[in-house]
């Protein structure tokens, strides 16, 4: 029993299907929460600074521990790996399957089948885009902040990656959440046909909202980074923080 391969047990398919959905749901919800936090830059550099310090645990420990960011990013990366491993099973495997699928999709002109293919395509792109982003965070957890992030986006030329990641992940997560609800029959209401229409509308409204928010956010980082490029590498000092700091220094003098 101890050496029994769990994947070959009859439970395998049920467990894998559930884990695929659970990992996808957590990732998609995290992605939206993440977008709200990153977009704090739209409220100004101080707001984003404050959010950063929150995540480093400053309100709890009195001092920021960037390692917490590393650990969290590591957790997200492991979810991505798990999810990608499970969802990969659904990719067409052979040239013949791709050809059959393309013929099929070309003929039936059917939105939800197209959406599935968009998910396969964007999922594939996420292998690369998400990995680059997460690796960077895990290795440089302290380099998050109004200047540090903006310098990375502009001077570090990460904005093309983030721009692609934004569209790819929003499409993938949005479609994924819609499909996972239909797949398990959740939130479908009394009449599932009407329920599905409602979910479709909700899904596009949300996707559009996050794409607009994301684009504005990325533009804001690019602007800060552009203006700060001559002193790239310098860290941000929040307004009230630096005042306090210089005041206390004054006392010591």
């Amino acid at each position: 029993m101890l050496f029994k391969n769990p994947l070959s047990s009859p439970r395998g398919p049920a467990v894998m299907d559930m884990l695929q959905s659970v990992s996808g749901i957590i990732l998609a919800l995290f992605m939206w929460a993440h977008m709200f936090m990153v977009s704090s830059i739209l409220l100004g550099n101080d707001a984003m600074y404050w959010v950063t310090k929150m995540f480093e645990g400053e309100p709890i420990f009195g001092k920021g521990y960037p390692i917490l960011v590393s650990l969290f990013a590591l957790f997200i990366l492991s979810l991505v790996v798990l999810h990608a491993f499970l969802a990969m099973r659904k990719f067409p495997a052979t040239h013949r399957q791709y050809r059959t699928l393309h013929n099929h999709l070309g003929g039936i002109r059917h939105t939800d089948s197209y959406l599935w293919y968009v998910q396969v395509f964007t999922g594939f792109a996420l292998f690369f885009l998400a990995s680059v982003h997460l690796y960077q965070l895990i290795m440089h957890p302290a380099d998050i902040g109004p200047y540090a992030s903006s310098d990375r986006v502009w001077t570090g030329r990460m904005w093309p990656l983030y721009l692609m990641l934004l569209f790819v992940v929003e499409l993938h997560g949005g479609i994924g959440l819609y499909r996972v609800l239909v797949k398990w029959g959740w939130f479908m209401g009394k009449d599932p046909k009407i329920g599905r229409k409602r979910l479709t509308i909700a899904k596009w409204v949300l996707t559009l909202f996050f794409l607009v928010l994301g684009s504005l956010t990325l533009a804001a980082y690019m602007k800060v980074g552009y203006e700060h490029q001559d002193s790239a590498g310098e860290r941000y000092q929040p307004a009230e923080y630096s005042q306090l700091h210089s005041a206390s220094q004054g006392e010591n003098d």
Binding site: P10, R11, P13, M18, H104, H110, S113, V182, W184, P192
Partner: protein, 254 residues
Amino acid sequence: MNACTEKTIPVKVSTARTIEFAIFRHNPFDEASEPHFETYQLEEADSMTLFIALNEIRAKQAPSLQFDFVCRAGICGSCAMLINGRPGLACRTLISQLPTKVTLMPLPGFELIGDLSVNTGKWMRGMSEHLQTWIHSAEVSNFDAMEEKMAPEQAEQIYELERCIECGCCIAGCGTAQMRPEFVGAVGLNQLARFKIDPRDNRTDAQFYEVIGNEHGVFGCMTMLGCEDFCPKELPLAQQIAYMRRAMAAAGIN
């Protein structure tokens, strides 16, 4: 002039369109036959269905054209084909709702008999034997006794799912079924759901799990929803697949 207006049928000037049909032709039993399309022109008539159009084409232009039909009323499920790429029943498709160019192909995923005729029966029988889509009961029925009563809602629910005519549109409309021929499809999953809710069927979820708790069964479905959107009987297929998925997920971890 006024006296007879109520009884006359107004004569319409013919505005009928001429429809061009490109029909897939191939006889797999004839070695010389190559798959190809042939085109036929036909003048549209009032209330003409695709089934009527095909019969006219066969009567006047292509006597060897093979296609299936029995009931011409959407009941037998034999006339399903790809109509401009989408699965549907020929007898339930009005020509007036089609553009002037119509491409007809046999349903993909089934053995070709010839031209537009495919062997859905063979596929359905294989699926049915594999999933055992009949009532499993330990009791020996006494045919002289009164039948057990069933709650009307329950009977209605079963009847709703029982309306499947095994036309195969949900297989032709499903990307999963097209890529993976072993997939039992919405038709199979719906039929097992029908027996799962039937109180006369004594199979447990663990027993259902043995046949559909895998990638060829309910966990193979990727929620593309072609089945739901192309089922000519408008069966609630997505709902039934979700129902089986929840039950099989629970059965799988217990």
